[in-house]
């Protein structure tokens, strides 16, 4: 009997929910912002928690391919730059966890989802960073794609997400420029260095384009996200815009993109590119990419090895609080 009552209650929206929905719809129609304490549809909340936490996880896992090169950076200057960049990635993860928490999911839960392999992160970080030139390609192409994706997210309808993205985008442009500079220096170096830069671009080009997500015809959640003003442009629109930018930039580098199908379509106003290997994308996303296991293992290890620091800090805080009480 009790179960039946509950089912009925769930089926019929309460007056409060109806008023909440009406207010929510009005805010979205005005292109204003939803704030944490506002009523919001459960699916809107879930979509945001999923998207924002995936984004946060990507920043955290994204520290690994580059941290891997800190000890082998070719100069003190490059080492300092790389450390600052990796620290930024940690910061970006924390901004995003902070924003996600305002939706009611505690950080520990999000972290646990990542450690248990229940949460996804960007497929790009499951590719290895084999050479120093990869630091350049990652900065230029991977961070470049991230910026193209993230700039419109500064206007996402959820206030805390948009604000976190503003902060992140400001910092990302340093990331992209330092990567571009690495490639430019290699490209102007010895033939072997130039070849190393070209190899890195060849390897990261397609995975970077896949960062925008599946094609519009294969992206079922996109439309709802656009209706909610979370997303402002479709995956294909953003990808096309990015191709347009890098096909110009690559000329300055004196390198080429490994795609002879790049062309501007006058009719659609879109940049076109060669077919991407979506089977590979889905394989990597499903955990079968070249580095998935390694990345997750490293993350769990770091979390476990840091446990004593977290415990010691908590114990010290407790001891101090007790002393303060006595005094």
């Amino acid at each position: 009997m009790a179960v039946q009552t509950q089912a009925t209650l769930q089926a019929v929206p309460s007056a409060e929910d109806e008023a909440g929905q009406a207010y929510f719809d009005k805010i979205i129609a005005e292109d204003s912002r939803i704030e944490p304490a506002d009523w919001m549809p459960e699916k809107y909340r879930k979509t945001l928690v999923r998207q924002m936490s995936q984004h946060a996880h990507s920043e955290i896992i994204g520290m690994q391919p580059e941290a891997n090169w800190i000890t082998r950076a070719p100069s003190l200057k490059r080492k300092a730059i790389l450390m600052a960049k990796v620290q930024d990635e940690a910061g970006h993860g924390l901004y995003l966890y902070s924003a996600t928490e305002t939706l009611g999911t505690p950080r520990d839960v999000l972290n646990q989802q990542l450690l248990e392999g229940k949460a996804k992160y960007s497929s790009i970080f499951n590719y290895p960073a084999n050479s120093w030139a990869d630091m350049g390609a990652i900065g230029w192409l991977v961070d470049g794609a991230a910026i193209a994706n993230q700039v419109p997210l500064c206007r996402a309808s959820y206030g805390p997400y948009g604000r976190a993205m503003v902060r992140i985008c400001k910092e990302e442009s340093f990331h992209q420029r330092q990567g571009f500079e690495i490639l430019l220096e290699l490209s102007n170096g010895t033939p072997a260095q130039k070849q190393m830069a070209q190899d890195a671009v060849n390897r990261f080009y397609a995975p970077a384009l896949m960062m925008f997500g599946p094609t519009d015809t294969d992206s079922p959640n996109s439309q709802q996200s656009m209706a909610w003003n979370i997303k402002r442009f479709s995956n294909d629109e953003l990808r096309s815009r990015f191709v347009g930018m890098i096909q110009e930039q690559v000329k300055v580098l004196g390198l080429t993109l490994p795609d002879d199908k790049i062309r501007y379509n006058e009719e659609t106003g879109m940049w076109e590119h060669g077919e991407l290997d979506w089977d590979e994308f889905h394989e990597v996303l499903a955990g079968r990419g070249p580095c998935n296991a390694q990345r997750m293992e490293r993350r769990r290890e770091a979390h476990e090895n840091g446990a004593w620091v977290r415990e010691a800090a908590a114990a010290y805080a407790e001891k101090k609080a007790q002393k303060a009480q006595v005094a």
Partner: protein, 110 residues
């Protein structure tokens, strides 16, 4: 009318049973002469660590000359469900704004 802001209670991670660090809201003064502005939040075991973490997280590029950290649970906010009636009073009182007084238009230094 006022009630504590709905901050996230941070229950221990499932299966770990260890208490997690409390949540702090961070406010940054970007330069002298300006107010502290809310920047975001972070977790820290105590106030001292919260200030240090806030420096590392929110002022990596000279964004601030001063920081405030406040336990999120200490913030009291207006009731989010009462937003319309709670802020109703100033509405319809245009005479509180200088723009209400149009007859003086064109008069200098007024």
């Amino acid at each position: 009318m006022a009630k504590p802001v709905e901050t996230v209670e941070t229950p221990a991670a499932e299966g770990h049973g260890k208490q997690t660090w409390p949540l702090w809201e961070v406010f940054v003064r970007s330069s002298r002469g300006l107010s502290h502005v809310h920047a975001g939040s972070l977790h820290a075991p105590d106030a001292e660590m919260a200030v240090r973490n806030a420096r590392d997280l929110y002022t990596r590029r000279n964004e601030g000359v001063s920081l405030w950290v406040v336990p999120a649970s200490a913030i009291v906010a207006s009731d989010p469900d009462a937003k319309d009636e709670f802020f109703e009073s100033p509405k319809g009182k245009d005479y509180r704004h200088a723009t209400y007084y149009t007859k003086s238009e064109g008069v200098k230094h007024l």
